[in-house]
Symmetry: C2
Subunit: 222 residues, 2 copies
Amino acid sequence: MSHAAAPSLPAALAPDALLERLRWRYAVKKFDPGRKIPAATWDALEDVLRLSPSSYGLQPWRFVVVQDTALRETLRAVSWGQPQITDASHLVVFAARRDLGAADVERLIDATAQERSLTRESLAGFARALTSFAQSGRDLHAWSARQTYIALGFFLEACALLGVDACPMEGIEPAKYDEILGLTDKGYGALCVATAGYRSAEDAYAHAKKVRFPAGHVIERR
Amino acid sequence: MSHAAAPSLPAALAPDALLERLRWRYAVKKFDPGRKIPAATWDALEDVLRLSPSSYGLQPWRFVVVQDTALRETLRAVSWGQPQITDASHLVVFAARRDLGAADVERLIDATAQERSLTRESLAGFARALTSFAQSGRDLHAWSARQTYIALGFFLEACALLGVDACPMEGIEPAKYDEILGLTDKGYGALCVATAGYRSAEDAYAHAKKVRFPAGHVIERR
């Protein structure tokens, strides 16, 4: 069999079940501030972030989970005052690596050697490819930002599947986030946030029809 | 109840089931060329692409599904010859809008008015916000590219949930893709592709341990 599953692998979802859960999601404008995501569910969402794929497996990202109330207030002030920042159960800041250098290459080679019980020597070709990519002169922060948005997609879809509401938000002041969270010194730059929790019964947007262009406008078959 | 579900909404997934399916996925190096994704499953994956969230709901993307064998060969030649381009059941090219202008704003306002049975006048504030964003002077292709990577994340997670194998690939020559698929004239630029199908029994990478940095390296709790 070409598709052998591990004995414990849960069954694949029915396509309709997946689509129904994705249609259930929307960008929450008003969260129920009294309702918290259970710890086991949140832990899984953090694991989803970690499991997100990235090119070369470089994981050029950092996810800052902000639970401190005062810090959430501070961040709200540099997020156009949007209430989701403080009212949602959880807040994650998505930040991308500003640059990639020898240390990043080393870190991935080390992790690969360890996880797969390989020698560093056997990974020399991979290390050369990574080094060449890091030295290619392309805009590595822009590249890392794209990768980080894969993780954002992974996170939002996972929320919908686990019955957690969310709102991705680009309306933040990234430079202020970097300063407040000390991201610049660590070599990362904030891109956007995702708030997660449970929709308020008063959020009228929960009932608004989802707006998507017709398939023919976005999907082309060749 | 703050979290009322539509009567038909399928139950949320158990966190462990979601994680197991995400651990099952990997970037396939060798597909089984004889195995095709069933039409109903593929249709759902196209719907997943359409349902992907984007900032402002602008959907600044185009997904080109290439089924023509000769065209797949042509694209493989500008993708460093990687065999997945021709061997996978399906190939999707992810392209992002190069610029955003008045026509894009109009298109979204029209779609919103129609879907939600609203007058265009009632959407004037939204239209102004969109216009202001389009004229903000930021790099809109870079912005659209990030949004498109949300869709890539959505697609890859959906594949894993539906039991479809996939491989995201940035190793393509985007300018050649633009030329071959006529994307530039339509105002889009190719970013990357995703191949989807079923892993070959001979793909040794199916058994390689997934390499992820420890939680403490990528997740910071504040």
